[in-house]
Symmetry: D2
């Protein structure tokens, strides 16, 4: 049936090699192995500031080479995609430079420190006609993608309620040290942008646009011991450590009304003792409901209001059947997937959109919308009043 064209190869340059850098490196390799991609992914260059560390990481994670300057990286002709996994405050500068160099961009969430920066990034991406995607990986859990299908075919009817929470507990201990994630200038916000951003994106994805918000937040522990060189989530306090102010929220909650009339509640916190990575949501519609908890990510609960009276109940769907989104590429049903698979799936979609010249979902526009809500909530907190999203 015509000529068998060789697959194109897409060369990645990845900035950052910590938690997210590792997750992306793994995802790119798994995508090649478990999916029939329209293009071959090449792990070309890993980029980080510390040469010794980035070199070791490049070898460990299977990259062909490394760079210590992202400015160099984005100018390299042999790179097609810039994948950004740095702390949030570096997203904008790198993304704009990459876009101006006509690289496609995959950027971790939250897209930017504020909606103004996010809008600028989006504008530059559009102007340069590149593909751009944001790392809202939870969309790509099979159970969440199944939830989207259920909603799209009308099985929930008109949506009345969304309630989403993202609960962790790693900051409850006041001796847990300060980190970039507790520094507003680097992270933008605390639980709000780190955890809440995911829930906001899922609300956008599954319910629709948000109309207005009102919120509250709190920093329960006002200062924490400094630890030099700490990275990630694992660190212990140094004796006699200098105390550093915590400039981000430990917890952030808000209520909203959606454009379609549904009511929503959101909570993100790092102070929910015993809750480890408890991202969960429930959506109630006029015909049915769905529930999801990330720590049991292979399960989707679905209540079908059309089931025979007397036999109705939330169905516990083991969302790992071959018929479910993405699941058929892995193992037989019930041979469950984990956190890292969400990254593989988002990369599969990204590669497919690049190769087939289709718009990515979620893209910088979605990333910007999330920042808009994050900012609106913060403004509502500052003003102790409802804020219309349209005014942000």
């Amino acid at each position: 049936m015509g000529i068998d064209r060789p697959k194109p190869t897409i060369h990645f340059g990845l900035v950052g090699y910590k938690f997210m850098g590792k997750a992306h490196s793994n995802a790119l390799q798994r995508a090649n192995m478990f999916f029939e991609l329209p293009a071959q992914i090449n792990l070309s260059v890993l980029c980080g500031r510390n040469e010794e560390n980035v070199k070791a990481a490049a070898m460990k994670f299977g990259w062909d080479g490394y760079e210590t300057s992202w400015e160099n990286l984005v100018r390299r002709e042999d790179i097609d995609v810039i994948d950004i996994t740095t702390p949030s405050n570096a997203h904008k500068e790198i993304a704009i430079a990459a876009a101006e160099s006509k690289k496609h961009i995959f950027c971790e969430k939250p897209l930017a420190l504020n909606v103004k920066d996010a809008r600028e990034m989006l504008a530059v991406a559009i102007k340069n006609n590149i593909k751009h995607q944001v790392g809202f990986n939870y969309r790509f859990a099979p159970a969440v993608a199944l939830a989207k299908q259920i909603i799209d075919i009308g099985r929930l009817g008109e949506i009345h309620h969304f309630r989403g929470t993202y609960l962790q507990d790693w900051l409850v201990d006041p001796d847990f040290p300060a980190a970039w994630r507790t520094d507003k200038t680097v992270a933008g916000s605390g639980a709000h942008g780190d955890l809440g951003a995911h829930v906001i994106d899922l609300a956008h994805y599954l319910v629709g646009d948000i109309k207005a918000v009102t919120g509250i937040n709190k920093t329960f522990v006002k200062e924490r011991p400094e630890v030099l060189g700490m990275t990630g989530l694992t660190a212990t306090k140094t004796i006699d450590a200098r105390m550093v102010p915590v400039t981000v929220d430990d917890a952030s909650l808000f209520l909203c009304e959606f454009e379609n009339g549904a009511l929503g509640s959101f909570e993100a916190t790092r102070f929910a003792m015993g809750r480890k990575n408890a991202m969960a949501f429930e959506i109630n519609g006029s015909k049915g409901s769905i529930r999801f908890e990330f720590e049991r990510m292979n399960e989707l609960q679905y209540f079908c209001g059309q089931d025979e009276p007397g036999l109705q109940g939330f169905r516990l769907i083991q969302a790992s059947e071959g018929i479910h989104p993405y699941a058929g590429h892995w193992w037989p049903v019930g041979h469950v997937l984990g956190y890292e698979h969400t990254f593989v799936h988002e990369m599969v979609e990204f590669i497919t959109c690049i190769t087939n010249d289709k718009p990515c979902i979620p893209d910088f526009y979605d990333g910007m919308k999330c920042c808009q809500v994050l900012d609106a909530v913060d403004l509502s907190i500052a003003e102790r009043a409802w804020v219309n999203i349209g005014d942000i």
Copy 2:
């Protein structure tokens, strides 16, 4: 060991014989049988407006006699306690008359249609030096009482978070008829006062006073078919029924800050498809957490931050051991209790406080505090702003 004094007898007059009237009648009988009360309870008079119905109910529920006028009832000399289970708009008048007649009062929740009325009821009760209790029955589930014990002995430490929901779905169907519960002049509010009141009371009980609130509510279905003579939750639409406006909220949500600095979120709805009587709360503190879901009311989840590292996890306590509150009076562990037992327990406490001349808990003060929060939330919704509880 001294003289064996005969037990006093406390004579009850109960106003109302529907859902709550049945629950109270049952509870009074069960209390006599399963507990060693300091007084014998006598089911003396059942009161309702329809003579035929109240007579039949009195016989069915084991009452000695009946009345068709609460005004007569409260004046009867042979009655010690007036127990009020009418729709909310009748609470005030009956309670004030009963108090003026020096009867002890048990009143269903919400105590009144608004905090002003509740304050008046409280004042009259205090002036007449009677015992008064409010029907926040969920406090008396063994698992909830156990939660209170856990908090009181400091096992949760400083409280950071309360999140409570009360989800039902019986109004999702737009053909479900109007009822007194959808009429603001009778019920005061909708899900807010009916369901939310329970969650607010539990927050007061377990966490403490609320400082400020902001909320949102909605009436998803604006009018419903009228059904003559419908009572309770079971009814079907008449063909060509007249449409009646729904004047209460279908759902009500709010955020709060507690006086002790904890953050709270609350949701009450009758539109959560698939959720039947899903009253649930979670409390996170600096040392531990607890979780409770009413539909699994015999279970309390408790996370103990002092457990050995690596072996920590929410404990699923089957709160029906002899050592647990109230449970030892019933059956062996695991032989689970149900909804109606909460009413038995509250009556046991009420009788005990009357006999021993101790203050009841929760009393009209607690009922008033709940109304204060309900009103503050409604005001915050009207003004689209935060409202301080102290200003109500």
Copy 3:
């Protein structure tokens, strides 16, 4: 509409006033109040050997009078029903005397110490043409009755598997004292007849007759301290107590093949640490499956193989809707029932069968069938071989 005949009254005489006597007393009263029975139940005579205790219990439990001799009781002309809740070794003698006196009989399970006695009881009951029922109360949990309906309308198809367990832990502590339940001459067997009997009956009820069995059992703790006067499940060891041999099984397991070809597994134990009253079963058929756990007795899980592919999953049915068996007589959906309600329901059925002259279900025949399986399992253990039920 004809003459309004007055309801007949059925006079009960209850033998035993401990755990089961209390449960039955409560059930008879609740049945009168919550159900529209065809006859009025009268709690006439409570019977026990210790006059002081039985008198106190009669007053507490609402009985009109008491007897200290069951021989007298069964001869009384004013009694219609003898309800037997004594330890198992007294069932036979009382039941036969009652039947010969033409009393209807409700007898707790296991019906007898062995199938021979059970057959004799059944024969005498049939000969005297009385109504007879056995206290397999778990059949009457709404969720279990719903399971029966689901099976009867063919929703599971051909049954392939039954797996049932009844796990408790109250004998794990070797210091827990000996009791009548650990004495073979009184109890007949240990976990096997006490707990296993319930599971066997449910298997008969839901799946059908058993064809052959093979089993194993064990007494983990061979002797226990004696406590004088201990009753029920609550006791503590006396210092220097005399040690008494345990003559019953602590745990008993068996496999079976049903007559219809299904495979079954059964386990009853008092040594499952942390398991309080964990009676649970699962049934898998060619079209669907059901699961039930008593400690969450208001829930039934149902898997429907006809649900749309991709949306299949066990439905968590909150089996307390008005449409569910028995549930509509109590509270609104989700206002959960407890252990004691199963006794009310079995009494409602018993009264109805007596009044309407219909055969009771389950009756002494079902009780005998259960004893047959219990004996067959014990024989299989003794012979270390499969035993056909038909040979017992």
Copy 4:
């Protein structure tokens, strides 16, 4: 601290490229990336009979080369390890040839078609002094490894009960075609050896040796349509397909006594409608209990009998903390792992044992022990009697 020796490289030759071949290929790559192994793993040669397919798989899965003859493969000097993932009937011949060629061997379970073959494989492995491991991958779920730690430090005390089940439903449909897994000459047995083998191994690992067994099994569907070229679990019937007899069990159950006196029950089935990959076990000891369900593989339930009275309950441990076995090499707590991670962990242990010259666990001895129990159960079924493991 001495010379920094370069890491050795271990060259793998993998036989088989279907379900297990894919899982092993993935695991070897992940092990290199996520763990600090004492040796580098090299994916040298993939082996399969169909050249086109194995070549494509080798490219896809990242192997350096391929072979179409396992006889050639085991003789290659550049290969250190032979990894066997073929159907069970090929294990013996390949393993013996590999051992004679002094290759280390990783072999999938069940080790052999019967214990005689397994003993021969073990003897040859020992004679040739090679490392040998069997693919009981479920041991390497973090939650299962944690369960082992809990038992080893005595937290369960004396073990009384083991109950294990492995429930699937992919053969319920009688139209599902015959496959190598339904052919006794290729698979050895059905659910018994495929699923039951895992549960038996876990019982050995966590409880100890089995003393005697009695069982039952069944083939519910006696013949199935043939499909040419079908592999794995996904196939659809051809119209007018020839019917092929099913020569293995659809379900297999047995009871056992362990050498330490504990009682055990086991069930493996492919006919449990709605159950997808429900491998689960519970162990009850004198001091505590544990429970595990594979479909929620990141969770371990642990009941600690030493917890404060009144606050005891099964703890739901999210077994993905850095402190838990293997988990710290992956993601932060609660960022859950999946099925495939168990293979990574078993390979990490295998590589470590090879490099450090330590015995592998589980090895061919464990594989043989599992076959011994499988055979004993089948013999007990044939003879309808208990069989002592020592007699097999």
